[in-house]
Assembly symmetry: C2
Homo-oligomer: 327 residues x 2
């Protein structure tokens, strides 16, 4: 099988590429389990240490460039994991950039999918940011997406196109709405949710972290490891089992900032928590408070998606895998 | 005021241009009632007899051509009525054409709006075709759009962009979801709903009409006159009164095919009804049966939108205004 991963040098993209290589096989659109012969990881830049494997190739380019993505996918791509996106804060700050990457980029990928010899599978990384505004206390599979940010609007447009292209038989698409991913290693990014990782990552590295939202702010969170597993699980479920609604709320955990700080205390001690400064930032608060914090993920649970045990185990896993390396 | 009407030589576009001229004024984005100095009616073609008025200019071009629409709107457009679209049947038959006109065209108009000196008002003609699939018997303002056709998906994408551009302060946008418009004069078109006018129009002109759907098929309908009034009413409501949700289900009437044929009998007699042939067409049925037929339009009612008295009055008005001229 030939697999294309967009956003493939990003943090989640790299975890996914590694997991696919470790796994070695995927189920194709005909339901046949086949070995993975090639993974093309596409991204706008290529920096840092990348995962190396004989099957993995890295390509740098702009996914919104129709000719580029058509060339990358050629006519023999079996599956696409479409993770590339302009993150929430950046899409809010630069409307045109968000439209270009999150909408035009997704369209270019869907167009390239239509040019394949077969009907490719496509897993689209959407986001719970498609929800916003006046929301019920607990969101269900029937809660209407009413995005209040440009990022959320653009992700919902992507979901709609994935759904329509699946209905038309152009692709076999599945859109998974990701919770906020914690704990991301590395540096803060332009996502409005960046602080959610920062308030764990920086203190564990002995650094000061700013928390721009209130302690009772609730977020729907998932670990990077569980998100990677969800991408692959979404790919493997038979199309008929998935059903006509191609977008799905992923399971996660409700974590308030206060709960995350308690988990940080359990793992890193009082000294770590003392490195977090509550510094309200109205721009970030305005975005994050439109995000939902509690879900009943009945459909995803029935489809066999899983989540982390608790917030502390997420923080502990991060500390085990990353924090020691940076100290 | 300078007004741009896209789809301005179409049937509804012409009714709207005429109604705007008769009215003579509109309320601008600052709440000031101003006289209409110029109406530019944009369309892809220009055919038939067009409404003539010193204030009205006709321009032929492709709304998805960014340069063209930017030139038409220049920097001094106060209001846009965006009616141009590839209709449902055509958008289903030609995915790329629908995306180009219904999505790219809407984006080009929104981009041109952002280039205006002021913040233009924009009324977007959406459709109840944004609803589909497993629907409640009566749809409400809270029913989730789940389009099952490419046309419905493309209209919903337009709504999302109108909403986001309004939130960002680029425009003062309002999207109205039109019921099926009956009775349209002239010839059948590529809309899946074309038969709904045809089964009245053709028999009243002494011609045979095919009905591709079952007699108990229910549609949510509105007359052209009421639709035109709704566009103008949508424009005139103050932005704050409209509220943050910029898309709105318009009031209408539930009409089954059987009810429309009874209205046809009341106006045109048994001879007219005898000219309707029930000829099931699975392609049309598949599209139309995903459309909703019953709404509770609480929000629109509270905002002062109105609908026709009953199906018979719609048919009678059509016969009075059009049918005699064609006999």
């Amino acid at each position: 099988m030939k697999i294309v991963v967009t956003g493939g040098t990003g943090f989640l993209g790299q975890q996914l590429v590694r997991a696919l290589c470790e796994r070695g096989t995927l189920t194709d659109a005909n339901g046949t389990v086949r070995s993975i012969e090639q993974i093309i990881a596409v991204d706008q830049t290529q920096s840092g240490r990348l995962f190396v494997d004989d099957r993995v190739g890295y390509v740098v380019g702009d996914i919104a460039n129709v000719g580029f993505i058509a060339h990358v996918m050629a006519a023999d791509t079996d599956s696409v994991f479409h993770l590339a996106a302009v993150v929430s804060g950046a899409a809010e700050a630069d409307f045109d950039l968000g439209m270009r990457v999150n909408v035009d980029g997704t369209r270019a990928i869907l167009d390239a999918c239509r040019a394949q010899t077969g009907i490719p599978k496509l897993v689209f990384a959407s986001s719970v940011a498609v929800f916003g505004g006046d929301l019920p206390h607990v969101l269900t599979d029937d809660t209407q997406p009413t995005p209040q940010t440009s990022y959320g609007v653009q992700k919902l447009i992507g979901e709609l196109l994935v759904g329509d292209c699946t209905r038309k038989g152009f692709i076999d698409g599945r859109a998974v709405r990701l919770p906020t991913i914690v704990v991301r290693p590395g540096k803060p990014n332009a996502a409005a949710s960046s602080f959610a990782s920062g308030i764990v990552r920086e203190p564990l590295a002995g650094e000061i972290a700013a928390c721009p939202v209130d302690a009772d702010t609730a977020m729907w969170v998932l670990s990077p490891r569980a998100a990677t597993a969800a991408f692959i699980h979404a790919h493997e479920i038979p199309s008929a089992t998935w059903g006509p609604r191609r977008a799905l709320n992923l399971p996660g955990l409700t974590a308030t900032v206060a709960q995350m700080l308690e988990a940080l205390r359990a793992v890193g001690g009082d000294a770590a928590v003392a490195r977090v400064r509550m510094q309200p930032d109205e721009r970030i608060r305005a975005i994050v408070r439109t995000w939902p914090g509690r879900f009943a993920t009945t459909r995803a649970d029935a489809l066999g998606f899983t989540h982390d045990a608790d917030v502390e185990s997420i923080v502990r896993a991060y500390a085990r895998e990353h924090a020691t390396a940076t100290r």
